[in-house]
Every structure is written in structure tokens, then in C-alpha cells.
Symmetry: C2
Amino acid sequence: MDAHESSFEEAPTLDQARRQIRHYGLDSDPQAVLVAVRLMAAGARLGQASEVHFSRFGLSTGRYRLLADLEDSEGEKSPSLLAASLGVSRATVTGLIDSLERDGLVLRRPSARDGRASVVVLTARGAQKLRDLAPDHFRRLQAMVAGLSVEERTVFLDLLSRVTRGIGALTER
Amino acid sequence: MDAHESSFEEAPTLDQARRQIRHYGLDSDPQAVLVAVRLMAAGARLGQASEVHFSRFGLSTGRYRLLADLEDSEGEKSPSLLAASLGVSRATVTGLIDSLERDGLVLRRPSARDGRASVVVLTARGAQKLRDLAPDHFRRLQAMVAGLSVEERTVFLDLLSRVTRGIGALTER
DNA sequence: TCCATATAGTTAGGTTCCTAATTACAAGCC
DNA sequence: GGCTTGTAATTAGGAACCTAACTATATGGA
């Protein structure tokens, strides 16, 4: 434990945003900037916490998501489709499958229809792994958002998806 | 462009969450789970977009944050304090400083008071780099959250910080 | 004063993701 | 039918983090 050694961190502050914007003589809205920066910080922290969480079960976030996605697809799916639905590159999926296959949680079969393709199949052990971690996993997810009421969660989902749609503003042009 | 080749993705769905929870015979709230999962997905996407964004200026997210933090501290700060305020490990800060120093954006000075410590100083070139990217950077951040009204952003900040406080639920015990 | 313990910074090695290039097969067009 | 172009999966190499172990200096008792 080194990087997140304290619980503090209302890390980037509205005042900091204000100061920066003024310093550069810009007319941006400090609050808007703060929203963006806080969301980035939250995302980074959550990503790290997620890795810690899944490492308890010998998985990583990516490997868990792949298993869960497979389960959701009746236990089989091609690497390409997995990459698309997980939102990662096909190269990354190759690596995830490699390690899951080593652990016996999935296996690769050549596709019957397409000589280039293969099919990733969830093994009994993979399905069991998902069953084993489900109670703890879902309990923790729920605990994480327990600070919000049902109505607040609805609002949050709406606002989050609208900010998410704006992420393209960072990369475009 | 491979991983985020489409604009789709209201990726994890309430129905998916419901199905999973039912499948494992749990009594978790699907909506709560959805909030957690969506936030993780948003964080990951935002993190990647952020790297793309800063790479336009020859920086990474981490290197930019270090520079901005330095600027906010009158241009100098120790590696340890930088690590603490950036929320990354000291080893990571060492690497960030190495590359920033190579580019002439910061420099290392031994601390006068503490023989173990050093002080990282923002160079004129580092300060110039920040000035150069500020207009585009803040414009994009603002564009990202432009889909929310001022009131909505206030609500979002509140809800986000409350969820952020719950992140510990993933790692504790 | 001396020694145990703590802290600052770095190094070594591992993880997760990425892009670009490679190999194999598929499919449309002349 | 043969050729070009497209797609599936992998490989190779890189970037950004991490933890653990190391070196050097500081500090606070006995």
C-alpha cells in the first residue's frame, strides 16, 4: 500500500481550477473543468481498486469482464466480438484468453464456419469461478454505491451517460 | 483506432445486470450494480481518451498532472509530495520526472534541508508547455461536460464524490 | 553517543493495456 | 479462376502504472 495510503482527496479543488484558468487568462468555467478532472480522478482510483478486488480471485478486471461476457453469451463467442463488446483491442483479448486458458477457465476451438476465426468457450471451471466470486463481488459493488438513494442513482446514471457521450471531445479533430 | 472504433456502447445494460444477479440467485439491486459497472467503464474510456489527448502535446496524463501540480506549488515540490498529491507511487513519480527532465520541462535539485530529498523545479520550458496547451486543454474539458447544465454539474459533483467515497468497499477487509 | 527505526528516492521486475506488423483465410470483381 | 482487398487472430514492442527491495540520509530514544 503506497499509492492510496490515505483516504483524503477531495483532490482537485474548485479553487485550484479557478486559479489555473485565471492564470492562463482563459474564460473556461471552473466548475465544468472540475467535473471533468474529478471524473478522471475517480475513474483512475476505481480502476486500481477494481484490480485489487479481482486479484482476490486470481483474476484481473479484464479477465473477469471477459468471463462474464462469455457467460452472458451462452458460454461462447469469438475473440473479435469479445474485443468489441469489452471495448478493448483484439490483441488485448488474445492475451486475456491466453491467461484464462492457462488457468482452465476458457478454451479455444476453431470456428466451424470461418477458417480464420475461433470460438472461446467457457469451461465448467470458468463458470464455477464466476459462481464463486459472485456473492462477494455483487455485495461490494452494491456497497460502493450505497451512499446514494435509488433516485440519486437514477440521476447519476443519466448524468454519467451524458458526460460519457462527451468524452469524444477529448480525442476528436 | 481499434479499441473504440464505434460510438455505441450504452455498454452494460440494466437487463444484463438483472440477468446476472438472477442467474446467481442473489438479491443485489441491479440498478446499484449498473451504476458501479458504468462508472468503471466510463473511467476506463476516459483514461484512454485522456492519454490520446495529452499525446498531442508530447505528454501523458501523468506527466501533465505532475507539471500542473508543480505550477500550482509555485514551481517546486519534492517527489514524495508530488506522489502524494497525484495519488501515484513514488516509483511512478521517479519515472515521470525522468522523462520530463529529459524533455527539459523540469529539473531536479538536491534539497538544501534534507540530504535524502530532492526538489523538482518547473523550468521556463515547462511553464511554456503548460501555457501552450492550456487553451485547447480547457476548451476540450469544458466541451466534454457541455451536455450538462450548471445545476446538473453541481448535482453530478456531489453524487460522484459520494460514490468515490464508496470505492473503498471494493478493497477493504 | 550510538543504534534502531523511519523516510526519500531509485531500481528491478511484473501487470494491463495499446499500436503496428504478420499470417491465414474469405469474398467480391474482372 | 485468379487477384485485390478485407477481416480474424497473433506476435512484437512500447507506455503507464504497480510492489518490493535497495541505498542513503534523518531522527529519536537508551
